[in-house]
Symmetry: C2
Subunit: 331 residues, 2 copies
């Protein structure tokens, strides 16, 4: 496995030698759990042969781990990082790992400083995340590393990512399945990776039901309202707004109501993100794509634990399928 | 000073002995900055006399610090913790301290587990925060501790808090100063400490200009809209809504517009929190109280650094005055 130093026998080595699972080996060495005495003895013998030193929760003199993980984000712990962070925490708590927080605020120098500091602290692992699914440069440190949500540009790195395109397709197909036939796509800036990915997938899924090119603008309610005015002028027969974010979808819904257009009776609307503050406060509440960020964080945390503890070889790339949350705006 | 162990001479001791500031002492020992040579020599002499061991950033064999701080929150890193966290990070970066993140999710057992783990890791200090200004039980550990936003119930503890009552008064007095004379206060649940504090301060500031008892409900836009309908029925001559949160104020503003009431022409509206997503998306944008959470976090971080480094005795209770952000909803 790339970039993981093995300085001492690990519990996985003991387990393999004794012909038991890692969890059984751990129980045997810690004198916990219900095991047959000969199993326990076999594990302890294997540990002795390998020079594995066990202590409370496996910590002993030979244990050079610090039980800390660095979590590096560019998102300033915003809307995307928080649920992800909660998932990571859930997973790492099981391994008694503490999380050191590093918010780079999109500053390359700050990132370099943090990475140096984390190495100096000899963290057991790194989780790298950000607010975009655009691949980022690999940090390339000799420490077990998992990229969460934001993959790296190195296919050899371990990454857990959301399938934005699948999410966009799910929303578009739902609109079509509910009966919308004249749909527009309103989204954020074209240069934004997520906007481009979602727009392309939406266009693919809708085919001729997409009656205009994607309308790129801003991730804001105001842009959603403005897009409604433009669309109603050009395509008064529109019957679906497939939006690139919940903020845009909320602006669309508000403006349609103000223009006397019934949602979902005359026009159906979908969002993206399942940001409760927007999706639930909308009238009606928004049908929207949930990328499952907490689940994604949990998966990233577990993957990192596996790497740190040398438990098998996780897949390099794990892709989480988003879920469509269906609410009043499209029914 | 309570609960701070002093195991080795500190740079403050060196500075005192040499008759210079701590920052000068630090520059002298690290051979940085522009100092007169005799000053530099005097500091080094003082350090030698005291047995102070300097290394890069003052780390030497005598340094038993771990340069880590535990940040414990009950807020699940929500809207209140994030700006605060950024401020704490700003301040602690100056002291090369890493932050270990502990999200208790309002669970007493989880909190106990985290506190034990942080002690075991020998963190240099603790910052305790949460989503309410209601005093919480003191954690009472022999580690330098600063309570941020959520004070403790022990007046001997160090706390940096926001003055919610002053914020509420500022909004109320602004409405009155702009000419509103028939004002209602719409806010969250009465059992919620912030709702009660803000309501009391609002009533005090407005006197007879408050034409109805505080309307307690929920921290939601929906409640704001509902409160408008009730208020217009009972007091059609209302000319000001002083709201306990931006979410409520946004609901109020939306509903007034839907009812054909001009904001701010006929009715002025104020919010509380300066939550950009709500305050700026509102039509018109909201005049609102900003508690300065990032500044508060920075102050808490600096106070903790002072405690850890033994630099003087900070005040036990530091109160930050909120700021009124004036926008279109009240002008």
């Amino acid at each position: 496995m790339k970039s993981i130093r093995r300085t001492a026998p690990r519990i996985a080595d003991v387990a393999e030698r004794a012909g038991v699972s890692v969890s059984t080996a751990s129980k045997a060495l810690n004198d916990t759990g219900q095991l047959r005495e000969d199993t326990r003895a076999r594990v302890k013998e294997a540990a002795a042969e390998l020079g594995f030193v066990a202590g409370a929760s496996g910590r002993g003199p030979a244990d050079t781990r610090t039980y800390t993980v660095g979590l590096l984000t560019t998102d300033s712990f915003g809307r995307f990082t928080i649920p992800l962070l909660m998932g990571v925490e859930d997973a790492l708590a099981a391994g008694r790992m503490a999380i050191i927080l590093c918010d780079t605020r999109d500053d390359v120098l700050r990132e370099r400083h943090y990475l140096a500091s984390l190495q100096e602290r000899r963290v057991d692992g790194l989780i790298i995340t950000g607010r975009t699914t655009d691949p980022r440069p690999s940090v390339g440190l000799p420490i077990p590393t998992v990229y969460a949500f934001s993959p790296s540009d190195d296919p050899e790195d371990f990454a857990v990512v959301a399938d934005e395109a699948a999410g966009a397709r799910a929303a578009a197909e739902h609109l079509a399945a509910m009966g919308s036939r004249r749909i527009v796509h309103v989204t954020g800036p074209q240069r934004h990776h997520s906007a481009a990915i979602r727009a392309e997938a939406t266009a693919d899924a809708l085919g001729e039901a997409l009656i205009a090119p994607p309308q790129y603008g801003h991730w804001s309610e105001e842009w959603g309202r403005h897009a409604v005015d433009m669309t109603l002028a050009a395509h008064p027969d529109v019957d679906g707004f497939c939006c690139g974010s919940d903020q845009i979808a909320r602006g669309v819904t508000d403006r349609l109501r103000e223009r006397g257009v019934d949602v979902p009776g005359q026009v159906r609307v979908t969002g993206f993100d399942n940001w409760d503050v927007m999706a639930l406060a909308s009238r009606p509440p928004l049908t929207t794509v949930d990328m499952g960020l907490k689940t994604l964080g949990r998966l990233a945390g577990r993957t990192l634990l596996d790497l740190v503890e040398g438990e098998g070889e996780p897949p390099r790339r794990q892709v989480l399928a988003p879920r469509l949350e269906v609410r009043g705006s499209s029914l």
